[in-house]
Symmetry: C2
Subunit: 384 residues, 2 copies
Amino acid sequence: MRDVAIIGIGQTPVDEHWDRSLKELAGEAIFAALNDAGREIADALFIGNMLSGILSKQENLGGLISDWIGLPGMEALKIEAACGSGAAAFRAALMAVSSEDVDSALVVGVEKMTESLPIETTEALATAADADYESAQGLSFVAINALVMQLYLHTYGWKHTDFAPFSINAHANAMHNPYARLHEKISEKEYISARMIAEPINLLDASPTGDGAAAIFLVPADTILSVNKRNIKVVGSASATDSIAIHSRHDPLWLSAAELSAIKAYQQAGIKPQDIDFFELHDAFSIMSVLSLEACGFSERGQAPKLGLDGQITINGRIPISTRGGLKARGHPVGATGVYQIVETVQQLRGEAEYTQIENAKVGMTQNIGGSGATIITHIFRAG
Amino acid sequence: MRDVAIIGIGQTPVDEHWDRSLKELAGEAIFAALNDAGREIADALFIGNMLSGILSKQENLGGLISDWIGLPGMEALKIEAACGSGAAAFRAALMAVSSEDVDSALVVGVEKMTESLPIETTEALATAADADYESAQGLSFVAINALVMQLYLHTYGWKHTDFAPFSINAHANAMHNPYARLHEKISEKEYISARMIAEPINLLDASPTGDGAAAIFLVPADTILSVNKRNIKVVGSASATDSIAIHSRHDPLWLSAAELSAIKAYQQAGIKPQDIDFFELHDAFSIMSVLSLEACGFSERGQAPKLGLDGQITINGRIPISTRGGLKARGHPVGATGVYQIVETVQQLRGEAEYTQIENAKVGMTQNIGGSGATIITHIFRAG
């Protein structure tokens, strides 16, 4: 098993890209990553995508994108794990390089969500939940998360307002990220009075969808680390699952797949939660930030809102999250999100995060979630 | 990099399984593979599937299936490469085990295609082609292959009748496979007079869709090969792509991704085409059998129909193909097909193929194709 490092990153802004197709977005991010890596080709391409079949009537993205980027012939395929597709594709690429089966790999997460009718996008996103026991009952994906948040507020006695810091922090950080979907600073008052979506989740608890692509170039660590300080080592990688339907879980307020994958990743990296300098978590809804922080050991059970209220999640706090805007404000092009998280982590570890740079950031963690906690992939990275 | 071996296989019949859901079919095949391997758990599950999002409104199959089989928590995700999804999932599992990241892996290919309206299935299958430049022009998937077959007949001067042996052989072999969709011996006369689908492809040139699942259990070869003669070693594995649209290829009659992936697999195995005892190829349409045989070095360019006419593709011929019925008669549950091919290859190499057993079969090859040659995955296996 070989150690693997990231030597190139690229991304498109998350936006309504009505003028660009899926393959064009993917290509833009890939070319940026190739350029950043100083490479022209890769042995294999791993594509994270959830919705192209349903929304763009296009599967077989491997052939489509490898041809578009001018590398027909290369190995290429798509990995799908709902909103966790991006990190799942990254992990597949990681295993391919570490198995010595390929000597370099590109990962691209790409999603195109804004050209379809909102009802079509909502229906497509519901395929992340249990089709027979959740979606068929009329539960949309946001409604499932709303039930979880209701239960959390009830069980631990928090008020909705206590979740405001998560949204405010994400929006504040996104102000300085040119690739973010929303550049809009928000106040607690705006958070409280935002339009209700599915009680208690309001518009400012929920992440916006979007079109976008992010890409990464991976190589064996021993081939490059000595010559370039911008290279980032992957020191932990793990994926775990939980029941797809929330009602099948012993404790709907505990992300057991987050805990399982984080523990594995900590072990691989030989570290503990307190060694993590920042955490790009999956804040698709503010309740998910809270559940992730608890499952990964950054807070006692039921107490993560306190981290927000105490200012611990901001750039200068104990455990900064959503440092480039997170899903909440950078935007959530679902199958691309996991790759955006890793790209942003590399920016922090390289010291390229500008106005939201965390001082002396050495170890970063990402967590990407497919469904309401059904598939969770956790990675830990270290500056080279 | 560790060598990897198959120690368990399982499958459901390919059929119209209206009484069983996607996860139930997958579970049936997985339990059979676990039972065959004498194991109860695996570290990871790789799922080959193409159409669940479109036809069953269900993505996130990792969480769904791992929970259903009673192994919530395990790593699990879906790989999509159109009709090549099965072998792509197998290859991802292979890399995971060989990277030492996991010590055992299950692969399941599963597809459910017969509960939707035929037009829905046809539309869904068209997502394997180029959505903008092929499907949007009204070209169905069979129509694309019909254009290729027209060109082949015209270029090399063959008659449609010359393709009869491929269909006759597949149907004859499927008679002895209890898991096959069609148990119906056919004659040349029936082949010639079959109903036209898209000229020159008639009903007996085309493979039937179906519901089904096939599963495989993989472990590092050095942990088991000494104790069990039923274990089959993976000695070659490669994947390659070509442009997704036929019209973008320099030569629409040459499967360059088949050639590329086969050459790599031969090199890894240290063998030549003449060392292959049988070949489970992707006979979705009879023209595809011909193009595969040529690209993989079993025939001169433009001459593969001769292999059929000379009786070389039957069980006792030089290069037996579709030995358990192939896609043509075992059936083609698209994302599952690549795993069925490998399961059947293991049966041959173990000497468990009964009435269609190839004498002294030591080395078998499989080739799974996504789209009309856009993504092609080739594997070579050797009896332990």
